[in-house]
Amino acid sequence: MNRSIFTNPYVLIAPAFLLAAFIILWPLFQIGEISISNVNRFGQLRGFAGPDNFMAVLADPQFLASLWRTVIWTVGIVAGTILVSIPVALILNEDFYGRGLARVIIMLPWAVSLTMTAIVWRWALSGESGMLNSALMGLGLIDQNIQWLAQAGTAFPMQIAIGILVSIPFTTTIFLGGLSAIPDDLYEAARLEGASGWQIFRTITLPLLRPFINIAVVMNTITVFNSFPIIWATTQGGPANSTDILVTYLYKLGFNFGKLGEASALSLLMFALLLFFTIIYVRLAMQGERE
């Protein structure tokens, strides 16, 4: 066949690549430029600053505290989501009356804006008229209202719980896709051999679901790490910054305090962190698969 330049794969891929590069790399370049410049609060560059902005971020005790909280936040939500979503997906994969409806109910919250969900939870957690307190009182579990959002000790675990709840629909969808790809005859053969339900799950379902779990871990880690609305709508990182994660801290730096240079430096650091851990995880996971 005549190889024309128009059928060269690199040429074919070029438009999409250029568009993606423009959308992804150009802002990255801009942020890089701001992060090494003196910049006023209106984003106007006022000369070269070198590593000053990075040093300022690293020297701020709020940075380390928020970083540590981001780790708890991300690991907590991602692990919690996976642990809940696997049984949910297993149940929804069974053939039962009303399965279609059950699947829709599980997926529906996905369609609601995260900010709106977070605001509803803020009401539910209110210490005066909150639904959660009323429910716990009704059940006789508490005899006094709990001020959920007044201190980090109760606010942060609740925020993680909300994070898990809102991540379930997406994760369950991935797992349902994975489960439907497992051929039924594997299960039939296992049952003929007299395997128990747990054995089937451990030796057939889980290994075959592994690639999907990996996808779910990576995708969830990226969104959860950068997830802003839940914390912002419930506590704005307060009281006294005790529920700040890196994104809320970033927002305060940039928009409340007008330190756009430091905010850019911080967002580059976050980008690097996320990239680093994602690459490590993907490599480990792929190694596991090859074995």
Partner: protein
């Protein structure tokens, strides 16, 4: 050939754009903060009235929720896409002036125009001898109290001092209902301000004469002690660090707060949302030496230095500050009159609620005009939240906040 065609096309295009912009030379874009659901309609109406009176002008109003106003303006300015006029918090103005974003208005301001204003409200927008903004919204703070609760608890008069306030709160607590004596805000915007009322009453200041923070003073410790005692005595609502200003106001509207300090617009909200609530407005309690201070706040409307239509923009500003337009706006939103003629109108002069606020104006304090103020306010709020939660000692926390603030002051000079 094709290159020539391209040139012609480009030239035609440029000409068309030039023509188009010429025909819209009188366009003025205005970024407006949304104070309530009435703000947008008010400005739209003002714009169409102005357009009718000035043919050939086109006023475009952009309404932005107050929470994201700063973010929206920052983004617009950095992208060079800002409007011609914008409402900003007057405490932000210094940044706009020092970076050359806001245009001085003195060339436009005549003596007649200046004479319209009550000087207390115009002066915060004057910097380095130049006027950079006009006070579009003004408010102060006073103490609201629930008359029914007071009657039930046998309290005759609204408390004049903090000691009396504490005694009144104890009586309300003794009623045993689900009402709380004193509503204290401990979250989000103005958490620091709520503390300043007590600070000023103790004779304290935010920034001392030597240019350092006033938080590491006896007055500040005493002020924090007042609030801490109220919290520890169960005289405030529980969990103060989970309630922002609106949350406390909502409790007040439900009749569950005996006393709280807030702005005139709460009276407007009560009229609409809880018309049966029996409330009164009184002065903020005084300290042992009779000191008291209310927080004066103005928002300014500014003109941008890069505006292409300054003359038309100014004409629109002038129109917004006519007595009639001001009265309409302030009545809608529940702000204080900034225009002397307007203040004399029966609508405002005979309003008992507003009178409590205007009476406090001689002791009104404004947020200091100082770079980095928002960061200092955050440092103050954080220290207060730790004190309210009992996570830190008053003196240690305030001293640390003062040190932090002094560092910010130094870094910005």
């Amino acid at each position: 050939m094709s290159l020539h065609w391209l040139k012609v096309a480009t030239a035609t295009g440029v000409a068309a754009i030039a023509l188009a912009s010429a025909s819209y030379a009188q366009t003025v874009r205005v970024t407006v903060a949304e104070y309530s659901s009435k703000t947008g309609p008010y400005f739209e109406k003002a714009a169409s009235e102005f357009e009718a009176a000035n043919p050939g002008t086109d006023i475009q109003i952009e309404v932005v929720p107050w929470d994201v106003l700063q973010q929206k303006l920052t983004t617009d300015i950095s992208g060079g896409a800002n409007a011609d006029l914008a409402i900003i918090g007057t405490r932000w103005l210094i940044d706009y002036v020092s970076q050359g974003i806001a245009a001085p208005l003195d060339d436009y301001i005549t003596d007649d125009f200046r004479a319209r204003f009550i000087d207390t409200f115009l002066s915060p927008s004057v910097m380095e001898g130049q006027t950079y903004g006009l006070p579009i919204a003004a408010s102060a703070r006073a103490m609201y109290y629930n008359k029914s609760l007071f009657e039930e608890a046998g309290i005759a008069e609204p408390p004049a001092t903090w000691d009396e306030l504490k005694a009144a709160a104890e009586k309300i607590k003794a009623l045993g209902g689900d009402a709380y004596g004193f509503g204290l805000q401990g979250k989000e915007i103005e958490t620091d301000v709520y503390f300043y009322y007590a600070l000023w009453s103790q004779g304290g200041t935010l920034i001392e004469e030597d240019g350092t923070s006033g938080l590491d003073t006896e007055a500040a410790y005493a002020a924090a002690q007042i609030y801490k005692d109220l919290i520890d005595g169960g005289l405030t609502e529980p969990g103060v660090t989970s309630l922002n200003r609106e949350d406390v106001q909502n409790l007040f509207k439900q009749g569950r707060i005996g006393m709280m300090i807030t702005a005139p617009f709460l009276a407007n909200q009560i009229k609409e949302e809880a018309p049966d609530l029996q409330y009164g407005v009184a002065a903020i309690p005084a300290g042992p030496n009779g000191d008291r201070g209310t927080y004066g706040v103005t928002d300014s409307i500014i003109m941008f230095e890069n505006s292409q239509n300054k003359d038309t923009a100014w004409k629109f500003m002038d129109f917004l500050f006519t007595t009639e337009k001001r009265a309409e706006f302030d009545e809608n939103e529940g702000f204080l009159p900034v225009n002397a003629e307007e203040a004399a109108m029966p609508l405002f002069a005979d309003n008992a609620d507003l009178k409590a606020f205007t009476d406090l104006l001689p002791s009104a304090q404004f947020a200091p005009v100082i770079a980095g103020w928002e960061e200092m306010a955050a440092a103050t709020s954080n220290a207060l939240q730790r004190i309210y939660l009992g996570e830190g000692e008053i003196k240690a926390e305030l001293d640390q906040a003062a040190a932090e603030i002094n560092g910010i002051i130094e870094a910005n000079n």
